[in-house]
């Protein structure tokens, strides 16, 4: 068990193993996402209230969902960084923070596009949108701190502290934003909390969420590999990899 754990922390081992399963992640992810999105956009039934405009949920919900779970993943990795000082955990946090930022931005953007036909305005200080906006700030802070510290080990550990502080705060922020929202504008109707969503709607939604997860996994591997190569550039295995093209 411990040996496995130790191996998992080795950048070289990760580099080798990830190269092998990355094509599967990408292929599976694209396939599922395509299936989900095509099904959702072209074949799923119209919403009785919003017509076709609701179909953006097949993009909005997966990105919003991923944006939040990426932060949770980062927090788990941050804990590993601080407790076990595992190199790979540092690499993960650094590699996926910008991905999380982009996903959060996409969720906000699709939310705004959805808002235009539904609420008649691009932006509304709705609890969900506001929470996502704050999540965007949190991601921004993590990336800014990482860029500001030169020494990569110190940067990784400082970022880990920040991510953990952030993850403790996320439920508090979410709770207070919800409370703030009810205080200022009593909820008229909630879009994604329909009492029952027909299977024709939630199955494609599930497919695209799963697809996005796999694509995220692939993207994380690509970015982690790049980061590993840059960090380990002085080691023998990276030199051999550059010369021979394999680990």
């Amino acid at each position: 068990m411990w040996q496995f754990f130790h191996k998992l922390g080795s950048p070289k081992w990760f580099f080798g193993i990830s190269t092998r399963f990355m094509p599967w992640l990408l292929a599976g992810g694209v396939l599922l996402l395509m299936a989900g999105v095509v099904w959702g956009l072209a074949f799923a039934p119209k919403d009785y209230l919003q017509g076709n405009s609701y179909r953006i949920i097949f993009i909005h919900v997966p990105t919003a969902f991923m944006a939040q779970s990426v932060y949770i993943m980062m927090a788990s990795a941050a804990l590993v960084t601080l407790v076990w000082r595992m190199k790979l955990a540092d690499v993960f946090v650094k590699a996926v923070a910008p991905v999380g930022l982009v996903l959060t931005f996409l969720a906000l953007f699709t939310g705004a596009v959805w808002g235009k036909p539904t609420w008649g305005t691009w932006w509304i200080w709705d609890a969900r949108l506001t929470s996502m906006l704050i999540l965007l700030f949190l991601y921004g802070g993590v990336i800014a701190l990482d860029r500001a510290i030169n020494d990569e080990k110190s940067a990784a550990r400082a970022v880990a502290v920040l991510v953990l502080v952030g993850v403790v705060n996320i439920p508090i922020i979410k709770y207070s934003v919800d409370w703030w929202n009810t205080l200022h504008q009593p909820a008229t109707f909630k879009l994604t909390e329909k009492p029952s969503m027909p299977a024709e709607m939630w199955v494609p939604l599930l497919l695209s969420v799963l697809g996005l997860y796999l694509i995220f996994g692939w993207l994380a591997c690509v970015r982690m590999q790049t980061e590993i190569l840059s960090r380990e550039q002085r080691t023998r295995w990276v030199k051999e990899f550059v010369l021979k093209g394999r680990v």
């Binding site: 700030f137 500001a148 502080v165 705060n169 508090i172 922020i173 934003v177 409370w179």
Partner: protein
Amino acid sequence: MNAETRPAVQLASSSVGALAAMKGVFARDMKVAFRQRQDLLNPLLFFIMVVTLFPLGVSPEVSFLSQAGAGILWVAALLSVLLSLDHLFRHDFDDGTLEQLVLQPQPLFLLILAKTMAHWMLTGLPLVILAPVLGVMVHLDGNSIAVLCLTLLIGTPVLSLIGAIGAALTLGLRSAGVLLSLLIIPLYIPVLIFGTGTVAAAAEGAAVGAYLALMGAFLMLALTLAPFAAAAALRISLSNG
């Protein structure tokens, strides 16, 4: 140099108690602050000026001010605390006293707690004391002012405590001030929401006990967790310097 007063070498296992060490840190920070009184005044002046901007920039109407007043005061207080955070560790870092603080044979989080308490006494508490005057100037009624002061009294220590984490993380970095704000403002949002929300609830005649209790819970959480996070962050920043 003569060395007659020096005791002979012997390994020691006991040192001053943690409480005495905390008192020492607190007393030193207070003393340093009162030697440089202008630095104490600056956040207060900033607080007053930011509040002044709203009647000038938005509207001096009594109806607007009395409705937005609590929010304005809270935002202004939040910004002044933010402005003062850069000093929390910076001077100590530059002159090397921070190194000696970390090397005291004491739990670091307690020493940081003492420093943060001193910071609050020097910045947060004066804001709370000044708030009623500004509350009158933005036409808040008496009840709202009282509740506002209570929320500031519970809320500003939370701002100092969370801020200590950011100040420790950005210690020794270029453009630390702006970065500090970027990291910390999102974390301040719950305190701001409940601070202003409680005043709004009071204005509508609702009971505010539960909201104040919730803010008290924030304070307890910050008191127990923030010093640990700030201590960890401080060690990392010192490792780098």
